[in-house]
Chain length 328, copies 2
């Protein structure tokens, strides 16, 4: 509890799990100034991990797939951290049953770390906390950091902004037409995995998906050179089938990221994404500080808007002007 950020960072460098867990808690819901110190101290030690995002609708077997991918990576002697991000739950820190079940299968292995994270704490929620938790796991020295999240709302886009390689998982027989048609999915996928591929409808799902990819490709700017065509891999994660193909797809994508220059570009985009999220959080904190202090400006704005003397956009202008003048 009473440990300073400096002590925690030193503990992380010695490979202490407890220090890692505490730093992740700070990323999830720590005080802004402590988190700032954590990130400033850890940032120089980051940039080595490969970040893999896994997303998909509820019911496609994402957790099982993530577990199986982690096991396959371990078999290649890579150390793996799993960050299970659940935008629908306020629970975190491995409190959920599913998490405990998972942990058991890797319990004896010190090179697998599993952590679940929920949408509480910071004002900006998971879009603010996730990239900072990834930064902590990267600094901890894991070869692969897997970020798993249910595909809801903006979460697919967020995950793609954080990952080197984004996996979109699908499964037959779950209203897949609609699943695949989700605008976000085609845009963000580097690799498609059709899980539960032994179930009927897997072939149909793959055909549909190929059709959509071809249509998307035809619509895209034809002279984009060296584009990436997301492979479609079939797995039965619960029986460990198809995992070699998934790892091959990761390897091919890694090579493409390096040769095309897109890897470098993504890392710059990811840096900018993090900077933008932090800046937005600072703005939210400025608002919250105004709110908490019974600021006469806010009282007056609320009154004037509620009584229809001032329209909300004009009031927002007033608010921003006060913030710009006030300073954080």
């Amino acid at each position: 509890m009473g440990q300073t950020v400096e002590e925690l960072v030193a503990g992380l460098e010695r490979g202490e799990r407890r220090a890692l867990a505490r730093l992740l808690t700070l990323a999830e819901d720590g005080a802004p100034e402590r988190l700032r110190e954590v990130v400033a101290r850890l940032h120089p030690h980051t940039g080595r991990a490969r970040v893999i995002g896994i997303t998909g609708s509820p019911g496609v077997g994402k957790s099982t797939l993530t577990n199986a991918i982690a096991a396959a990576l371990r078999a290649q002697d890579r150390s793996v951290a799993i960050l299970a991000v659940d935008p629908s739950s306020p629970f975190s820190g491995g409190a959920l049953l599913g998490d405990r079940v998972r942990m058991q299968s890797h319990a004896a292995d010190p090179h697998v770390f599993i952590r679940s994270m929920a949408s509480r704490g910071h004002l900006g929620g998971l879009s603010f906390a996730t990239p900072q938790a990834v930064l902590v796991l990267d600094a901890a020295g894991f070869d692969d950091v897997i970020v798993e999240t249910v595909g809801v709302g903006q979460s697919e886009v967020e995950i793609a902004a954080t990952a080197d390689t984004t996996v979109v998982a699908l499964a037959p027989g779950m209203g897949d037409g609609i699943q695949a048609a989700k605008a976000g999915i085609l845009e963000v996928a580097d690799v498609f995995v059709i899980n539960k591929a032994d179930a009927s409808g897997a072939g149909k799902l793959e055909s549909e998906l190929r059709g959509m990819l071809e249509m998307g490709h035809a619509l895209a700017d034809a002279d984009t050179p060296a584009g990436w065509w997301p492979p479609i891999v079939r797995t039965v994660a619960v029986r460990g089938e198809g995992l070699d193909d998934v790892l091959d797809a990761f390897g091919t994508h890694d090579a493409w990221l390096a040769s095309s220059g897109r890897g470098e570009q993504r890392r710059r985009e990811r840096a900018l994404h993090l900077v933008r999220e932090i800046a937005l959080e600072q703005v939210r904190l400025r608002f919250a500080r105004l709110d908490g202090g019974d600021d006469p400006l806010l009282e007056e704005l609320a009154d004037r808007v509620a009584t229809r003397q001032r329209d909300p956009y004009a009031a927002a202008d007033d608010l921003l002007e006060a913030l710009d003048g006030g300073e954080a």
Copy 2:
């Protein structure tokens, strides 16, 4: 298409559905400057509608319940607008099957309006678009505006910030313990509805819920006067059972809002919520404008962060300083 905002507002005042639909589309994904004009023009004509939020996990029968509540309100001769907010879908405008099925049951009734809204368009997503869509429906003169959303992530909190009365819907046999334990639910509910109350487990769910409410009450500040104790109402929405009790609960809550002064307070909080969302969107737009223009500052920040010469928090400070200096 080519209509000005002024023409659309005039159409809305004449009760034209097409003008209403166009204005809602602007709220969902219109250009910032047009939306600003819409809100500025409509805002003086708002503040009359009662806004009812309905939230709950997938599978509790929210759409059926919403439909049944709308029918019951219509039987009291109130005009009703339903805004179905789906954070998991990029579809909108009534394109989904469920929406079309729903529309049929009210198709002949010009005093019921149904619209679904999805998370696309504005940078701030649904938390930005929803209160502005409610503002449009309020200005259109509906007695009741029902905002229905699946309880995922922050959506419960958002809905409570927009509604006069927030309904949390539950159903037996869906891992209800966890449902009810969700931190957001107890905080935001003004009325609990146990739907599918003819299924086994309804009594157990109600007992669990009462237990949690009592515990929450015991923990709350004891000298809070005139507190609201959320009633628990049982319905079988698919058969239209229990709806009178739901409407009674709304009436009792209305009376409490008026007598306690909380209604006035909520309207001020709602005004402030909208102002804050608009201000945040302005900040996001300023960022986006920097991004789009290949600004040398952003290039430099991305480079320096990606190469670990500058930490992300220091870069965020640089970014905010540039924004404060630059102006929107």
